[in-house]
């Protein structure tokens, strides 16, 4: 018995483009259209278009919106102006990560939370549990599609389709305007380590928006990009993947996300635990490593130092932009120094690796 998979409004477009569809967190999504490596490199050198409509959008409305959001998240949403975006973890009482998400401020009494597809139901339940009067929470995920346009040529590509001055949409800002005549939220965010935009659109207009953006992308030699390259792009940029690198058993401090924790902003869920952990010092930290031979580490492979098992790989893959194989793993602090030698056990044999600085890849400015 297989459960019926969700499909985004762009399912037909993926079929037409020859996308290879796989199951991902209950969704039928394109893993690749041509080759994961070619798609990855297209984003690094030019531009790529992605369907990420599986992501969840939750609208928070009402006079108590900010106070609810501040209680739920570790970062400080009070410093947001209208049209600004914030990346943040949402923590449990013990500092574990319920989800990592983006907070969009539309107005003092209207926000949007963009959450991981696999966490939509869990997050809604968590939010309702902690909700108070004076705030409404609405799941807008089904009626909202999301198209990402990523790469150094994304601004010029998008500019051909809109009267909005794209150059004025700064990093982690958004604006509302027509793209190809379709009302869109244009957000300068992404999950690739490149300049780029995420375009939120009503699901019923998604196919038209995709067609227009695809055409503009294709006209300059860009490519449609599947989840396969999305994963290698985000890993090179050391962006965490929920369920792999972070979850309810890991804290933002351990995950290298201390910059997202506003310890003194006022009370939030997990604050006491995080302050305590920060004071005592973390015992392990999510570190990047590079394989020193040709082997490829994958999630769940064991990490060894001499004969002691010291951790587990949370993400691992070839890095097409770096021509080596990389990964992330939680390592004990004393074993996490840059250049420290570790070993990854792959199919019963240990392979040499070393701890390296992250991000593995940084886009040239």
């Amino acid at each position: 018995m297989t459960e019926k998979l969700n499909r985004t409004p762009l399912y037909q477009a993926h079929k037409q483009l020859g996308g290879r569809l796989i199951e991902f967190g209950g969704w039928e999504m394109p893993v690749q259209y041509s080759s994961i490596i070619d798609e990855h490199l297209a984003v690094r050198s030019n531009v790529g278009i992605f369907d990420v409509s599986h992501m969840g959008e939750l609208e928070i409305r009402g006079p108590e919106s900010l106070s609810l959001i501040q209680k739920l998240i570790a970062n400080d949403a009070a410093k947001l102006a209208n049209g600004q975006v914030l990346y943040t973890p949402m923590c449990t009482e013990t500092g574990g990560i319920v989800d990592d998400l983006l907070v969009y401020r539309f107005a003092a009494d209207r926000y949007m939370l963009v959450v991981n597809a696999s966490n939509i139901e869990k997050d809604l339940e968590w939010i309702h549990t902690h909700s108070e009067t004076g705030v409404e929470v609405e799941n807008r995920s089904e009626e909202t599609a999301l198209v990402a346009l990523q790469g150094r040529n994304a601004p010029q590509c998008l500019q051909t389709l809109t009267d909005v001055n794209i150059a004025e949409v700064n990093y982690y800002r958004f604006t509302e305007g027509d793209v190809a005549g379709i009302p869109t939220i244009i957000s300068r965010t992404g999950y690739t380590g490149e300049i780029g935009f995420e375009l939120y659109v009503e699901a019923r207009r998604a196919a038209d928006l995709w067609a227009a953006v695809y055409e503009a992308t294709n006209a300059i030699g860009g490519k449609p990009v599947g989840l396969g390259a999305r994963d290698t792009l985000r890993l090179e940029a050391r962006l965490c993947l929920y369920g792999n690198d972070i979850d309810e058993t890991t804290t933002p401090l351990e995950a290298g996300l201390r910059w997202t924790v506003a310890f003194d902003k006022g009370s939030f869920i997990g604050q006491e635990a995080l302050i305590r952990q920060d004071g005592e010092g973390i015992k392990r930290r999510l570190m990047g490593f590079q394989m020193l031979d040709r082997s490829i580490a994958r999630a769940h492979h064991a990490v060894y130092h001499k004969d002691r098992r010291i951790g587990e790989v949370t993400s691992g893959a070839p890095a097409p932009s770096l021509k080596c194989n990389i990964g992330l793993a939680y390592l004990p602090i004393e074993k996490s120094k840059i250049n420290a030698k570790i070993e990854i056990e792959i199919r019963g044999r240990r392979h040499p690796a070393k701890v390296v600085r992250t991000p593995f890849y940084q886009a040239p400015i």
């Binding site: 994961i36 490596i37 396969g228 490829i296 994958r298 893959a317 070839p318 194989n325 199919r347």
Partner: protein
């Protein structure tokens, strides 16, 4: 579509007989499915392997797949080119992308493998499912 002089396994490896020696690789269908071969792990020369056992691993960007042995015997040669250029498996799966050569211990095992037309029929059936 598939070379008629080769024998095939259900797991998409091919076998080419040259006297007592059998060359092994993966089919064009398999390389197209895997795409972007980024790593091939092969056994050492001298390893004794048995039919249907895994002799190595082929990896794409996303995943690793076992390579299965078409005939029992001793590994007498491996394709060392694949260490630096695993993409040969994509570019020329029946020629430069070969993987190992086995001195077979029982030539009867070759008869258990599929012919090109049988392999073709199997793939068509799989694709229509």
């Amino acid at each position: 579509m598939f070379p008629a002089d080769l024998k095939y396994m259900e797991s998409h490896e091919w076998a080419r007989r040259e006297g007592d020696i059998v060359g092994v690789g993966v089919s064009d269908y398999a390389q197209a499915e895997i795409q972007d071969v980024v790593y091939v792990e092969l056994p050492e020369v001298g390893t004794i392997i048995e039919q249907h056992q895994a002799f190595g691993v082929i990896e794409s960007v996303k995943a690793a797949f076992d390579l299965n042995t078409p005939v029992s015997g001793e590994v007498v040669e491996i394709n060392e080119e694949l260490e630096d250029t695993p993409e040969l498996v994509n570019e020329a799966p029946y020629e430069a992308g070969w993987m190992i050569k086995i001195r077979m211990s029982d030539s009867g095992e070759l008869e258990e493998l599929m012919s090109a037309s049988e392999y073709q029929a199997m793939i068509e059936t799989e694709e229509n499912e």
